[in-house]
Symmetry: C2
Subunit: 526 residues, 2 copies
């Protein structure tokens, strides 16, 4: 499969006429071939109109048909072999074994949603039997199911060029929900995007999907993205990226005459609480785990542990020494883009200069441009609370330890955190009281709470929540990872006294999908 | 129970110091005693801070404890007897039998959510078992449940002074979800609001709820409402009312630094399709049903049938004659407020003057001020599509028949409708093809689709959807009536490797709530 630098609109591919844009090699910053043609406003309109035209047919396909489409995308990604991995590596600088793993995970996400479709509970089928004799008024036959909201715009992330991008979680859950998808390709991995986009295009063709179920646009600045979010036919937006980028899309959506949901996953510093008994028991082990988690993927995870909190103690000093030792041995790795590397270096400079903040340790020095050197800083709670800039995410392998005077101080800092994707506690049985007191606050702060683990690594499963209160995301009611991510692109419809022959299969009396339904308040496979 | 004109803040009552406001008698427009003291900004802050302070304790009560609170509110409403009904009748002009029915419905809503709590599925408990031996990476123990979003602001409706107001659907579902509620009392029924507010206040006290779980504010204009929606401690908004009012709250919420969900149910004209075979078979019956539905509650239902569509035919003319006859016999009734009556009369004037619109029939003349005279107008599809003002809701007993040339014309008009709460089809077996072709469009337009029924009358049940695409509501993912309304005030939280003793009961290994949970993708009561 060759990369042509083209926009994908349904089954067509065409060279965008809005000027050339180039992908860059992450390691060197050099322009890669070929040039990509940026999409025009006409291309945006064509993609949206085609998506709209396909929506009713697509959403009314059987669950099995849509599942087969998702499976075909998963298989197509695997079939691309090294062609894909080589290009992602070139564009992202991420190591190939990590990318192989990310590809498997991306395929598994698609397969999870295929199984969610085949299982059928996603319809949310709920039936209330007619009560014609009820007094004073009869009850009609009432049945609820959920349907897709309509065409969805997806903005992929720089840091997961496969799992949170063209065929990533938002695309998988939207396609599963019966929503056509239009992806705005991420400028940091245009070639990867085209390869994956063509896999989806081919899978749609091979499995007989209506044209328009998938398109992919290329932006030379932010105009295509803005036009997409503002387009009247777009019914929801999924985004993973920076806070600035996410808020711009939220603002664009708010300016629409008809509001639509925007699921922007933005920024998180993922506080880690090192509770006293846990630190006493295993400061060294926790320190090693921390150093490993911090530098994973050059620290470019949404769930990177950017803040640590602990009480003053000897055990804490043992942790600090062990963490310094572990970190000082860490080899720097190439960041995703020269811009991200530049922003990271700026963030480090700010931390180096910040009053009341001291450097604990650094990783090994960078050997070439665009590599990120790990860094671990220290401050106290008063300094942290007095300088809200210290709460800004510094995307990359840097972390800040906040030393608290006592548990009240710890709790006070916790209560003042912004919303987070994750909060972690390192915990021993003797920490029970302090953990119990913290938990109600932490539940309000984060989408996921971990004990004795590290937040990097997001399992794709039924119960995962990758989301959280603002500014972690723009909509805490939802998750972008895991089976319940399908909910974000669905809305309920109720059918009153509709003849069986006109009901969707999920609601027909005979339960032809053989799925779980709630009938008169009772859950059963009938 | 006496009406004192007071603001309710937790267990306190106080006279608001921002000036006097008065409820009006619907039938006469006269000011009613006592004067109500409008709440101040300090009152707003006090209510919000008390709500926030109660939130963690309230949401962590057992399901049974919150259920008992809801049941106590329901019983308190019934116990108020004629004191309540007399005041609601005075303020709203609605007939007492209707208000008795509305009170039962309101109590049943509260009891439905009590049973939803006791049943336990609302937690959304989802478990993924740890797989420590999995290759290449182990899987952690992961468990998801849902928790309340935080304090909720509720704005009740004029047209359901009980069921969509102080102790109405939004309050019931928010309290069930574990969210403290602050109600902004509707100016059209301040006395009713205080009576109901005191019932909730007493129920909270009697069942040992934390103070702050409920407060009620009084507004002299829109400043209290705006301050409430803008308050940083408010986490969601429920509103039922006009499009103008709803959009103002949406705008206020958008101006917040931290976005929150706003569930505004606004306006709907509830199109009714009179399909040809159904009209042929029973034009008279349909006409009588239409006239009854149109004038129910002086037409002041969100689901009032404001638009009818049919193909040119002799049967249609039979329907028109029968509807005219049925309507001409309808007695006018008092509208909710003098303002609403004035707006209705303006709407009628506009319809009388609109080019291409003719009057079919009117109800009996009004016998006193503020009564609504029913009216039924007629136009053709071209006129309707050329004058979008004809799609504006005229709140009251007026409807417009759109005569279409053929099924393509009918479908074209349907496709151009704004979002609706309901769409209805009058249908016979021979209409199957046309209904089948319309359904995919109608599913995208409305939250509820009815066959051979009338949209007025919203069942409180598991499968009801009272919601729909904009501008029917500001968020089509949700319903304000029915058991799934609890979802709007919940967000998911995932627990990774959390010790059993620190997990919430819904997620503990032994399933102490004995509720349905999804474990490794399998639904079971274990």
């Amino acid at each position: 499969m060759q990369i042509l630098g083209e926009t994908i609109i349904g089954q067509r591919s065409l060279r965008g006429q809005a000027g050339d844009v180039f992908a860059l090699a992450a390691a060197t910053g050099e322009q890669l071939t070929p040039a990509f043609g940026a999409s025009t406003t006409d291309d945006v309109n064509a993609a949206c109109e085609l998506a709209e035209a396909s929506f009713d047919r697509y959403r009314q396909l059987s669950d099995e048909q849509r599942a087969a489409f998702l499976d075909a995308i998963a298989q197509g990604l695997l079939d691309l072999g090294d062609t894909l991995i080589d290009r992602v590596h070139l564009e992202s600088g991420l190591p190939k074994p990590r990318l192989e793993g990310e590809r498997v995970r991306t395929a598994n996400q698609l397969k999870l949603f295929a199984s969610v479709l085949r299982e059928g509970r996603w319809h949310g089928a709920t039936l209330d039997t007619a009560l014609p004799e009820r007094q004073p008024l009869p009850r009609a036959d009432l049945r609820q199911r959920r349907i897709g909201v309509g065409p969805v715009a997806v903005f992929g992330a720089s840091n997961f060029p496969l799992a949170f991008s063209v065929a990533g979680g938002d695309t998988a859950s939207a396609l599963a929900a019966g929503c056509p998808v239009i992806v705005k390709a991420h400028p940091a991995h245009l070639g990867t995007s085209e390869l994956v986009g063509r896999v989806i295009q081919k899978a749609a063709r091979d499995t007989g999907m209506p044209e328009g179920v998938f398109s992919m646009l290329i932006d030379k600045d932010i105009s295509v993205g803005q036009a997409l979010v503002s387009h009247p036919l777009i019914q929801a937006v999924g985004f993973t990226g920076s806070r600035r980028g996410g808020l711009a899309l939220v603002a664009a959506a708010q300016a629409r005459p008809v509001p639509i949901p925007v699921y922007a996953e933005m920024s998180s510093i993922n506080p880690v609480f090192l509770l006293p008994a846990a630190l006493s028991a295993r400061a060294d082990t926790i320190a090693k785990g921390f150093a490993d988690s911090l530098v994973l993927g050059a620290g470019q995870f949404c769930t990177n542990p950017g803040i640590l909190l602990a009480l003053e103690s000897d055990a804490l000093e043992r942790f600090v020494s062990a963490a310094a030792e572990a970190l000082s041995d860490k080899t720097p790795t190439t960041m995703l883009t020269p811009n991200i590397h530049g922003a990271y270096c700026n963030g480090l400079n700010n931390l180096h200069k910040a009053a009341g903040v001291t450097l604990i340790a650094e990783g090994r020095e960078a050997q070439s441009s665009f590599q990120a050197r790990a860094a671990f800083f220290r401050t106290d709670s008063a300094t942290f609370l007095g300088n809200r800039a210290l709460e800004d995410e510094n995307f990359g392998p840097s972390a800040l330890l906040i030393v608290c005077k006592d548990t009240a101080d710890l709790h006070n800092v916790a209560a003042k955190f912004d919303g987070q994707l994750t909060v972690t506690l390192h915990y021993d049985d003797d920490d029970k009281a302090i953990a119990q007191a913290l938990l109600p606050t932490l539940e309000r702060k984060a989408g996921r709470i971990l004990f004795n683990d590290w937040p990097t690594g997001v399992e794709v499963s039924y119960s995962m929540v990758h989301g959280g209160p603002f500014p972690a995301t723009s909509d805490s009611r939802s998750t972008s990872v895991g089976a319940t991510a399908i909910d974000r692109f669905l809305r309920p419809v109720c059918y009153q006294n509709v003849p069986d022959a006109l009901l969707p299969p999920a609601l027909q009396q005979a339960n032809p999908l053989n799925t779980w339904r709630l009938t008169d308040g009772q859950l059963a496979k009938k």
